[in-house]
């Protein structure tokens, strides 16, 4: 499947969720949360100015999804805190409301697209004044100053955004957690022990460092590595304890082995 074609189909986590639940009719249990979290991270990275409000909302939604999934996967806890339970329902409903809102405008967008299409069948007349009236026409430059001319020039020659957005996605996907896990599984067996600072000193983007940290946590959960942090806020030592024979291709086998 050509990469670009697929990426352009989904724009962000809401789109992904709507598609998975409504079209594919899959259940949250089957949805890959890491991928949705990745989708959020990509969106946050795409923001030109880091907007705290949006970032917080994105994280809140991602957290709600994780909580819902935990709740569904873990064995029933007998002493459930009723307040926590209600809070989760509330967050879930909020998420559904957001998805519905998003869906509403997706459908409205289609109608607007149709209106554009049907209106484009008519071409407006823009011929303007006939020559004989030109002479009496007032000066068109009335009220226009040098600054307006400069601004108009800059507006006209500013680089136009590329019509295809999918390339940005391709670029952003470099920072997926899965990629980072695969890189680490490839690298850690060779070095044995390494500090987190060392592991990330070649990375420039903060997001890449965050993603690598998430990958380290993931490997810790999977039992591939030991973590050691001798002093608070000190550097973290990462010690590879997984089977050195395991390669990237074997990552998926771990699941069945554990299960």
């Amino acid at each position: 499947m050509p990469y670009e074609v697929q990426t352009s189909v989904f724009e962000g986590p809401f789109d992904l969720l709507l598609h998975l639940i409504l079209r594919e009719q899959v259940d949250l249990y089957e949805v890959s949360l890491a991928r949705i979290v990745d989708a959020y991270l990509i969106e946050i990275e795409r923001m030109e100015v880091l907007d705290l409000e949006i970032t917080t909302e994105f994280l809140l939604i991602a957290a709600t999804l994780v909580e819902l999934k935990c709740k569904r996967l873990l064995p029933e806890d007998l002493d459930i805190d009723i307040d926590d339970e209600f809070a989760l329902w509330e967050e879930r409903d909020l998420l559904i409301a957001r998805l519905l809102d998003c869906k509403t405008f997706k459908d409205a967008a289609q109608v607007i697209g149709l209106l554009f299409d049907s209106a484009s069948l008519s071409t407006p007349r823009t011929a303007g004044l006939e020559e004989q009236f030109m002479e009496i026409a007032p000066d068109l430059l009335e009220g226009i100053d040098l600054e307006d001319i400069k601004k108009a020039f800059i507006r006209a020659t500013t680089p136009k955004p590329k019509p295809v957005v999918s390339i940005e996605h391709i670029h952003s996907i470099r920072v997926s957690v899965t990629d980072a896990v695969e890189e680490l599984i490839d690298e850690l067996p060779r070095v044995g022990t390494v500090s987190f600072r060392r592991l990330t000193d070649s990375l420039v983007e903060r997001l890449e460092i965050v993603v690598r940290f998430l990958a380290v946590l993931e490997l810790f959960k999977q039992g591939f590595i030991e973590l050691d942090q001798p002093t608070a806020f000190g550097d973290i030592q990462i010690i590879w304890i997984g089977s050195p024979a395991l390669g990237v291709a074997d990552l998926s086998d771990i699941d069945t082995y554990e299960g």
């Binding site: 949360l33 795409r46 409000e53 559904i96 998003c102 405008f105 008519s122």
Partner: protein
């Protein structure tokens, strides 16, 4: 004098290069706006009756001559350029949000779409479909966006109130149900039919993160 003023309206609209408001036409022909509007409606009906190749259209708050949609195949052969490229789905969605919820900020649009909208907002601004209409009075004074007359013109409508009511697009009960099922909280609920097989195994941590226990 009505015949004379109808002729005058035809002449004036013929030489404008953008939709002309009934108010201006009323001043120029020394009539009330209501009179002008009824004459314009008459003219538009006449052209339709006579099956003219052009229409008198009421768009973006004004009146203009335009080619009849049925003649598009002929006009397209002639007008090759200038037709702007189609908008992406993302741009249309953003435009729909701005059209129905204006004025609103970039952050509000992003919250609804669940994605960063910086570049798509810029594209729509460059196309001239949306623009800054106000500033948020709150801290930060965020730019509030709204649709422009050009947007109405390109859509062939007179004002945003001509858009279908947003209520028409509110998802039905089936969608709500599907979302509630897909995101249900209760662990004991019956799993979706196609999730069979994998549910009786004890979930691993990887399931939690990845949902992909056996792939």
């Amino acid at each position: 004098m009505s015949a004379e003023s109808r002729r005058a309206l035809e002449a004036i609209i013929m030489v404008t290069d953008s939709p002309l408001e009934a108010e201006v036409l009323a001043q120029l022909t020394e009539q009330s706006i209501a009179e002008v509007e009824s004459q314009l409606a008459e003219l538009a009906a006449e052209y339709a009756d006579q099956e003219r190749g052009f229409q008198l259209a009421h768009v973006a708050g004004g009146w203009r001559f335009q080619s009849h949609p049925a003649m598009a195949p002929y006009v397209e052969r002639f007008v090759l350029e200038g037709q702007s490229a189609k908008l992406s789905a993302a741009a249309l969605e953003t435009l729909a949000i701005v059209a129905y919820k204006q004025p609103l900020s970039r952050a509000q649009i992003a919250a609804i779409r669940g994605v960063s909208v910086d570049s798509v907002v810029r594209t729509l601004e460059q196309r001239g479909y949306i623009g800054e209409v106000a500033r948020d009075p709150g801290p930060g004074q965020a730019v509030l966006f709204g649709t422009t007359p050009l947007f109405l013109e390109r859509l062939g409508i007179n004002s945003v109130s001509d858009l279908p009511s947003v209520a028409e697009f509110v998802p039905g009960a089936d969608v709500v149900e599907a979302l509630e099922h897909g995101l249900r909280v209760d662990a004991l609920a019956v799993p979706a039919p196609d999730a069979s097989g994998s549910t009786d195994e004890r979930p691993t941590l990887d399931d939690l993160l990845d949902g992909d226990p056996s792939a």
